[in-house]
């Protein structure tokens, strides 16, 4: 691989995308992606929590006693989640009601704790904030992809706007839990085939270089 230290923002958004590459945080991914609006709101809420938590943890990382670091991370994450909860309620009550218990449950999203332990606890503040924002937006992107498939097929709408006219018979299965698994599988397949094709191309290029080196 050519770049050993990738930009933490792009890393989370694409190369290490939490939903499609790391497959983390599957509970909200499957539970609230039945509409694009919910997916975007949940994704942004998680991104906000991740960015705040990563920033704070990186700032105090040198003072945290090693033995109590997990408790420290959880306390900080829980605070960020509670603050987000209040803000979502203040911005829009319908969105708050639609997301229901899933905002408080961001505390239990393994993605947030994983980034705290794997990145923010070891790196300075700015890269940690970038990593949190990248991972969070990557997560939001993943949720939106799923939400789009499920809302378009399951309700015939996108962000609430009807797409196919009154004669469209919605494929309700996609709004129900099985639809979450099916659309997740479809997206994972798409991403895996992307990756496979890219790796095959890199392998071919490598072979060509070796070939060229051997020739003269």
């Amino acid at each position: 691989m050519k770049d050993t230290a990738p930009n933490p923002f792009v890393n989370g958004l694409w190369r290490q995308n939490p939903t499609f590459v790391q497959i983390l945080g599957m509970c909200p991914t499957l539970a609230i992606t039945n509409s694009v609006q919910n997916a975007i709101a949940m994704g942004l809420a998680t991104a906000f929590v991740l960015t705040c938590a990563n920033g704070i943890i990186a700032a105090i990382r040198k003072h945290v006693p090693k033995q109590v670091r997990i408790a420290t991370f959880i306390a900080i994450i829980a605070t960020a989640v509670t603050i987000t909860d209040y803000f979502v309620k203040a911005i829009s009550i319908p969105v708050y009601k639609a997301l229901g218990p899933f905002i408080p449950l961001i505390v239990a999203n393994c993605l947030v704790l994983e980034r705290a332990e794997a990145f923010a606890a070891k790196k300075p503040v700015i890269p940690s904030i970038l990593d949190g924002a990248g991972m969070g937006l990557g997560f939001a992107f993943g949720l939106t992809c799923l939400g789009t498939v499920r809302e378009v097929l399951g309700a015939g709408t996108f962000l609430g706007f009807p797409l196919f006219g009154p004669n469209f018979e919605p494929w309700v299965l996609f709004l129900l839990p099985p639809g979450g698994f099916i659309s997740l599988a479809i997206w994972l397949l798409v991403f895996a085939s992307f990756r496979e094709r890219k790796e095959a191309k890199e392998r071919a290029a490598l072979v060509e270089i070796q070939h060229a080196e051997v020739k003269p």
Binding site: Q67, A75, I76, Y86, F87, I93, G154, V172, L175, L176
Partner: protein
Amino acid sequence: MKSSVMIRFLGFLSLLCGVLIVGTHLLTQSLIRVNQETILRESLTQLLPGMEKQVVYEVEPSGEIVIAHGQAGGAKRIFAGYDAHGKLVGVVLEASARGYADVISAMYAYAPEKKLITGLIVVEMRETPGLGNKIGSDPEFLANFKALDASHPVGAVKHGTKRNPWEIDAISGATISSRAVGRMLSASIGEMAPVIERHRERIERGN
């Protein structure tokens, strides 16, 4: 490492987190209240078209009604809406019942002199998206509540079999949610209609 260091660190951290949370709560609580009031007002104007002013009554355990001041406690509320001339347009009541996934709560408009339910808004529910949650949006289902006869016990009937003005035509595929709406209305009307009837003159005067 000495445990006193850890205790001190965690204590300080908890204090900091507590301060942050309380600060956010104080910062957002007025906004949250404004949001809740806006939603309530929007629902009331939608349920009682032509309403210009409202009076909120609370029903006391004795069956007496008093004008509510400030935040609602646990008491049942009657929202009375009046037009520009001070004439009663109708009252709005709250009802809730257990649906398929969780408790469904709704607000509905009631015309006391005609004993008719004249509109319904689902306020909160977690019914299955695409099936049960149609009770909040399906125009055919909501048309049931444009003039639902409440002098007779109301109830939901199977889709396409509505014969009487007190029956609710259920949504096909959302029978449990539709029945819950019927149940909550009949329970609420059964409880509130006598109270409203007893105090009708007072509510009509708006004092």
